[in-house]
């Protein structure tokens, strides 16, 4: 559903079919729509069986990494010798992405049900749902749903009457994009600064509180509910492009579009159809650039965007990545240099400060871009930006640094003329806010 718009005929509304439906938020409403059947089914299976179903479905992490979910769950120790934990990543902070917010505020019980299924699969008794601090409505809605789920016995010491303990708690973040990185998220739950951890050890061995942990994105979690409900074969069958990318994905379309919103399509769906048919450009405008997976993926131009299929492999084939599915659209009025500067400012603000390249490099990148925009740049600044970006890629604990580099490198490559216009003075300096 292209919420807040009516669903487009070409959408495949699975996760989003109840967006905008207030009754779906309540326990009774959710049950009426088939809620908690998947959980009951899962609780009647062994954890290993649940893992196999999810593996078979081909479901991959929807937070941005695209790691096969069933395989991730299978990394947890089979023999439980200490507490296992689930962390649901609802920190959604990747610019351009706004799908988890919708999932939480319209189908909170789906999130709880999905977490419970995951907890059963990984033999966890306690799960934390880490919701970013700014999501005041999802926090309220999720808490109300959690209270209901406990009251109705879906969660608690005797979940669904099976004798299995499933306890869930909400944990409110406090303003840090980096806490969406799974090891930083775990540190944040532990009451620490949200610093990503070096790996190894990996979360499945040493996670939150030092115990085996799995971290899953909200969208992945609710997709698991559907997989249990309708079967792995059904989910696997939803694939228009590469068979390794299955199911549906919510694409948060935003920026220069007429009808921004979340559009749910089958994996492998053509990107151009989402932009031109569903969200639509603003009247009289033409497409200049797209980031299909949030601000951290390479920017692609119109040709690449029109050729891209929306699955993991299809985006890589067009020199970008599927990422979180935060689909940012830039039309011909967009000032690419300015927006790339603004993105660099984002990363500089959010850097945790551990790694030298990220801490200093993001700030330096901002300063160079600001100078170019102020009309004081030089041609060698572009080579410098590319060189700094190279040093910021593949050398740090987490990929925030790489994420700053990606739009810079791809932007200079494709829109060098816009940078040069500022440098030569062909374009007047742009005033920047603050």
């Amino acid at each position: 559903m292209g919420y807040p718009h009516k669903p487009h005929p070409k959408e495949t509304p699975v996760l989003s079919q109840y967006f905008g439906d207030p009754e779906a938020r309540t326990y009774a409403g959710w049950v009426k729509r088939g809620g908690y059947e998947a959980l009951k089914k899962a609780l009647g299976m062994t954890p290993a069986q649940v893992v196999d179903v999810v593996k078979e479905s081909g479901l991959r992490g929807r937070g941005g990494a695209g790691f096969p979910t069933g395989m991730k769950w299978s990394f947890m120790p089979k023999e439980k010798t200490k507490p296992h934990y689930l962390c649901c990543n609802a920190d959604e902070s990747e610019p351009g992405t706004f799908k988890d917010r919708e999932i939480m505020r319209w189908t909170p019980h789906a999130v709880l049900e999905g977490c419970a299924i995951a907890m059963h699969a990984i033999q966890a008794e306690v799960g934390y749902i880490y919701i970013r601090g700014e999501f005041t409505e999802p926090l309220r809605v999720m808490q109300a749903a959690l209270d209901e789920a406990y009251q109705e016995g879906m969660l608690g010491p005797n979940a669904c009457g099976t004798g299995r303990r499933l306890d869930m708690h909400l944990h409110r973040g406090a303003g840090a994009y980096i806490c969406g990185e799974e090891t930083a998220l775990m540190n944040s739950i532990e009451g620490k600064r949200g610093n990503p951890r070096i790996r190894p050890p990996f979360p499945a061995q040493v996670g939150v509180f030092g115990k085996p942990t799995t971290v899953n994105n909200v969208e992945t979690i609710v997709a698991a509910v559907q997989v249990l409900n309708r079967g792995a074969a059904w989910y696997k069958g939803l694939s228009l492009g590469n068979p390794k990318s299955t199911g549906t994905k919510l694409f948060s379309v935003c920026g220069h579009v007429a009808r921004p919103g979340n559009y749910e399509v089958t994996m492998g769906f053509p990107l151009k159809d989402v932009i031109y048919d569903m969200a639509g450009l603003r009247p009289g405008r033409t497409l200049k650039a797209v980031q299909p997976g949030g601000s951290s993926v390479p920017i692609i131009n119109r040709e690449e965007a029109e050729a891209a299929l929306l699955d993991y492999e299809g985006c890589v084939a067009q020199n970008t990545m599927l990422g979180s599915g935060g689909l940012i659209v830039y039309d011909d009025t967009a000032d690419m240099v300015y927006q790339i500067m603004r993105l660099a400012r984002f990363y500089a603000h959010e850097s945790c400060a551990q790694c030298t390249q990220c801490r200093e490099g993001t700030g330096w990148t901002v300063r160079i871009l600001e100078r170019i925009l102020a009309g004081k740049g030089e041609m060698k600044d572009l080579d410098l930006l590319l060189d700094l970006s190279e040093q910021m890629t593949g050398k740090t604990i987490c990929v925030l640094s790489d994420s700053c580099a990606a739009p810079v490198v791809s932007g200079i490559k494709r829109f060098r003329n816009e940078f040069e216009a500022y440098i030569t003075g062909a374009r007047q300096p742009a005033p920047t806010l603050a």
Binding site: G96, F98, R132, G133, E134, T136, G173, A174, A176, G326
Partner: protein, 164 residues
């Protein structure tokens, strides 16, 4: 705890009880730090050095440790702010949709003049924030605990009227 000036402890009575319930959700007391800091900010509007000391004592941490955490997370205020705290997203997706114009409108209509400053009547503080996760509803604005979608410059004055 050394009483300095007129600092009133936060974790007494009902709030202490809420903290204790929160602590019970985690296997360590340290894990209750972020929730505890939210409780302090709910009570006092900001988190002072003395409040950090109180939290440290209650959770068995050092004040320096607590301060390190407070200064990491940008939603915790380290100094008093206006009665109403306005956060406007200006990251690229919203930037493409006129977010900076929205910021300027807020600065003008609140009388704050510049980002981070509190208006002379103490009513508002306006800041620019990074992506609020509602890019399809540009421009989202968080005022206190109210998440307002689809703000445009022309709507700002009416929105502000709702925050005396």
């Amino acid at each position: 705890m050394k009483a300095t000036g007129t600092y009133q402890p936060v974790f007494t009575g009902a709030r202490r009880q809420r903290l204790d319930e929160t602590v019970a959700r985690y296997p360590t007391r340290t894990a209750a730090l972020l929730p505890a800091l939210w409780l302090v900010q709910e009570a006092n509007g900001w988190i002072s050095d003395q409040a950090m000391t109180e939290v440290a004592e209650v959770l068995g941490l050092t004040p320096a440790y607590v301060k390190g955490v407070v200064t990491f997370y940008t939603m915790y205020h380290q100094h008093p702010v206006g009665r109403h705290f306005v956060q406007v997203c200006t990251t690229t997706p919203c930037n493409l949709c006129g977010a900076e114009g929205v910021v300027e409108a807020f600065l003008k209509h609140t009388g704050c003049g510049e980002l981070g400053a509190t208006s002379a009547d103490g009513r508002f503080t306006v800041i620019e924030v990074e992506c609020l996760g509602a890019c399809g509803f540009a421009t989202p604005v968080l005022i206190d605990e109210d998440f307002i979608e689809g703000v445009t410059a022309d709507k700002v004055r009416d929105i502000l009227a709702g925050y005396p």
